[in-house]
């Protein structure tokens, strides 16, 4: 396959493909908001979750105190007991990049050797030109000769472009590194990008993608949700897109309440009647 073919595949905004992408991505994390054992108990930092440290273990967002007498919460969030782990699902927070995450990134700077992208994290991410194109099979020669030299330039993207990228490496010390080679990855030429609180992303997706399927069907639009709190969307017309944005804002606001999926269905249908959409 030549470079050109690959690029076309990347930029093809096919609805089915994207739905699949979202559903297969982060199944483990999606359950947390909708889990039956998740209580709607709001906890705050320092609140004692349990003093029974023999049966329960500290999970995510919690801390076992130094004297091992109690488990306390570290975040404002919802208390959840899973098997013998106690977790706190945060309601506010920031995005920490992890390898494998798909993110919506904005190109903020470029020079001949790399791009710099804003991914809503502490550090700007780095995208090197070798990670923007698939290495051509033919260019290496029949016997695996030296790689092509003229790949190294940053002419593919411009400052201000919005990309869907995958994180290759990320740790506490170094800037995260991205790639745009892969399925669904690459530049977005149209649509709207909105930002929400990153901890509320699982709620927008819903259990096994139920919420996002619902939103797509009701507003007849394409959505791509990424872990860094950004959502790319494109609808039939601006009225549908506005409705979808309002709906996502409502989900963000009410993320910690029960029965959200059903309520959103009602909300969208009511709003459709009000706004005269079909």
């Amino acid at each position: 396959m030549s470079f050109k073919d690959e690029e076309q595949v990347i930029n093809d905004d096919n609805q089915e493909e994207e739905e699949e992408a979202v559903n297969t991505e982060e199944d483990s994390e999606l359950d947390e908001f909708e889990d039956e054992e998740t209580t709607r108990n709001l906890v705050v930092p320092g609140e004692i979750l349990t003093t029974d440290t023999k049966t329960y273990l500290p999970g995510r967002g919690t801390l076992l105190t130094h004297d091992r007498s109690k488990i306390i919460s570290l975040n404002i969030g919802l208390k959840q007991t899973k098997k013998n782990y106690i977790n706190v699902i945060p309601l506010r927070g920031f995005y920490t990049p992890r390898p494998g995450d798909k993110v919506l990134a904005l190109v903020t700077d470029k020079n001949p050797v790399k791009y710099r992208l804003d991914i809503n994290a502490k550090d700007d991410a780095i995208l090197k030109p070798k990670n923007t194109m698939k290495r051509g099979r033919m260019s290496r020669g029949m016997r695996g000769g030296p790689p092509e030299r003229d790949n190294s330039n940053t002419e593919m993207y411009e400052i201000g472009d919005i990309l869907i990228a995958k994180i290759l490496s990320a740790d506490r010390l170094n800037s995260p590194e991205l790639t745009t080679v892969g399925k669904y990855l690459g530049k977005k030429n149209n649509g709207i990008v909105i930002s929400i609180d990153p901890p509320k992303i699982p709620r927008v997706i819903g259990r096994e993608g139920s919420m996002i399927k619902n939103l797509k069907n009701l507003t007849k639009s394409t959505i791509f949700v990424t872990q860094n709190g950004r959502i790319w969307l494109k609808g039939e017309d601006i009225a549908h897109e506005r409705l979808l944005i309002d709906a996502i804002r409502k989900i963000e606001r009410e993320a910690h309440t029960v029965g959200l999926t059903d309520r959103m269905t009602d909300y969208i249908e009511n709003e459709k009647k009000k706004r005269g959409l079909n």
């Binding site: 709607r40 709001l42 705050v44 930092p45 320092g46 967002g61 801390l63 105190t65 130094h66 306390i72 570290l74 975040n75 404002i76 945060p90 309601l91 506010r92 927070g93 920031f94 502490k122 550090d123 506490r172 010390l173 901890p199 606001r253 009410e254 910690h256 309440t257 029960v258 029965g259 309520r263």
Partner: protein, 253 residues
């Protein structure tokens, strides 16, 4: 013609009926009101009205450190900017940060540091901006209290909240939560803060005169006052979410 106001303090800080000048008992706090999420573009924010004090706090982070040489390779840093507006006190305050503001910024920063996991965020900074809109005694305590609330609202992992209050001595009596006039005319002033995960003092300053026996009594007085304020803090932090929960469940029934 400029208005000239002399620094005049009343001779007695207690009224004839045994109450303080603003009508409070010795261990009574001024009315406190707190709210979180007031600054939309901040990561976390809170607003406090404590008697006549009005304080706004906003938290940003983790983010890159500017200027870059302040960044630490092994841990994050917490920067606190305590500032008073020019109109917050009786005589116009010059807007440049002075000695007092730098000291209070440092004191609050040291007070909040044990709560945070700064070692998890090397090379980054958390920034707390505290703006005193109206000051009437005990702003460092009020600022510490509200800064902790803003940090919690930002979703920054922290071990617990921190609460601060000032206790002092006026006319040879021990009182809680000194107001501006009591602070200036009183004999002693002791601001203290507690971190709730280990119930240890995180801030203790002292100005004035008293003996060691009174110190014990001071701290026990402070403890009761601190738990009272802590309740208000917790309620304020949860209110933002509970309001939405109630609104939603009310709509369904």
């Amino acid at each position: 013609m400029p208005l000239i106001i002399k620094d005049e303090y009343p001779e007695k800080l207690f009224r004839d009926d045994g109450k303080r000048l603003d009508g409070r008992d010795k261990t009574e706090l001024r009315p406190i009101k707190m709210e979180v999420g007031v600054v939309e573009n901040a990561d976390g924010s809170a607003y406090l009205e404590w008697g006549n004090n009005k304080i706004l706090a906003a938290v940003y982070g983790p983010r890159e450190v500017h200027p870059h040489h302040l960044a630490k390779p092994d841990r994050g840093i917490l920067r606190v900017f305590y500032r008073m507006t020019t109109y917050s006190v009786f005589e116009r305050k010059r807007p440049a940060p002075g000695r007092r503001e730098k000291e209070i910024s440092m004191v609050i920063s040291d007070c909040l540091k044990p709560l945070l996991f700064l070692e998890l965020y090397p090379g980054s900074s958390f920034e707390v901006f505290i703006e005193v809109l109206d000051a009437d005694g005990g702003t460092r305590c009020a600022a510490t209290t509200i800064a902790a609330l803003a940090l919690a609202d930002a979703g920054i992992p922290m071990k617990s909240l921190v609460t601060a209050v000032a206790v002092g001595k006026i006319d040879d009596e021990l009182v809680v939560d000194l107001s501006g006039i009591e602070d200036k005319a009183g004999q002693a002033d002791l601001p203290c803060a507690i971190t709730w995960f280990n119930e240890e003092l995180s801030l203790l300053q002292f100005d004035g005169e008293m003996d060691l026996k009174q110190m014990e009594k001071f701290l026990s007085l402070a403890k009761t006052a601190l738990s009272e304020i802590y309740e208000i803090q917790l309620e304020a932090l949860k209110k933002k979410y509970i309001d939405i929960q109630e609104e939603v469940s009310g709509g369904n029934n």
